[in-house]
């Protein structure tokens, strides 16, 4: 089975500062990795995903993430955050092997709060 660890439950940052949200996963098989964002009282929206190929993945709203197989990590970064980036961010993993196809395993989430 797969599992995801988000190392920081809360990340406060000032506007226009860079940010990194950390994610580590555990799996014995090849995985696909996702970052979703959830604004208050809303569903989840996909930011980006890694399936294969280039380990640097670019997503919406200026976010990017880097897949590091040796460290089993998939950290999310943004060089300059905005107030509107304040939200909960979830890292998730899935696999075509050893689990139900399409099933996502989520981390506990990281609350990003951007201060003016």
């Amino acid at each position: 089975a797969q599992s995801v660890t988000q190392l920081d439950s809360q990340v406060p940052v000032f506007e226009e500062a860079p940010v990194e949200l950390r994610c580590n996963y555990s799996s014995s098989v090849s995985v696909y990795l996702f970052w979703y964002v959830q604004y208050p009282n809303q569903g989840l929206q996909l930011l980006l995903k890694y399936l294969s190929g280039s380990t640097l993945v670019k997503g919406i709203n200026g976010f990017e993430a880097e897949f590091n197989k040796s460290q089993t990590s998939f950290h999310l970064r943004k060089p300059s955050v905005h107030i509107s980036d304040t939200a909960e961010y979830f890292c998730a993993v899935s696999s075509d092997r050893g689990s139900t196809l399409g099933r996502l395993y989520f981390g506990r989430g990281t609350q990003l709060t951007v201060w003016p």
Binding site: F34, G43, L44, S94, R103, F106, R108
Partner: protein, 117 residues
């Protein structure tokens, strides 16, 4: 832009009562998921449908929860009787591919927030 619809958005009920949540996926989406998200945690899969068939309900508490997708389109999740620990956000998601694959993006609805008193 097509969206996953869920209703109601909010539900307050007393323990031992029955509650039902409805989800209408994006048109043409064959795979539908129900997740439960407890406050402060990430979503956890309850049940997965491929068309009208259940693919995975291993995490569904079957003594009190039931889910159906009779015509392979919209779906209903029911809890009877509700317990205090069922208070959570219930999220519905769907994916577009006819054949289930773990690479597909899941599109989420706004969720139903349930409070059991």
């Amino acid at each position: 832009e097509a969206e996953v619809a869920q209703s109601p958005r909010y539900k307050i009920t007393e323990k031992s009562q029955a509650v039902a949540f409805w989800c209408d996926p994006i048109s043409g989406h064959a795979t539908l998921y129900w997740y439960r998200q407890i406050l402060g945690q990430g979503p956890e899969l309850l049940v997965q449908f491929q068309d009208e068939s259940v693919v995975d309900d291993s995490q569904l508490p079957k003594d009190r929860f039931s889910a159906e997708r009779l015509k392979g389109v919209d779906s209903t999740l029911k809890i009877q009787p509700a317990e205090l620990g069922d208070s959570a956000m219930y999220l519905c998601a769907s994916t577009s591919r006819a054949a289930v694959t773990s690479q597909e993006t899941q599109y989420f609805g706004p969720g139903t927030r349930l409070l059991v008193l």
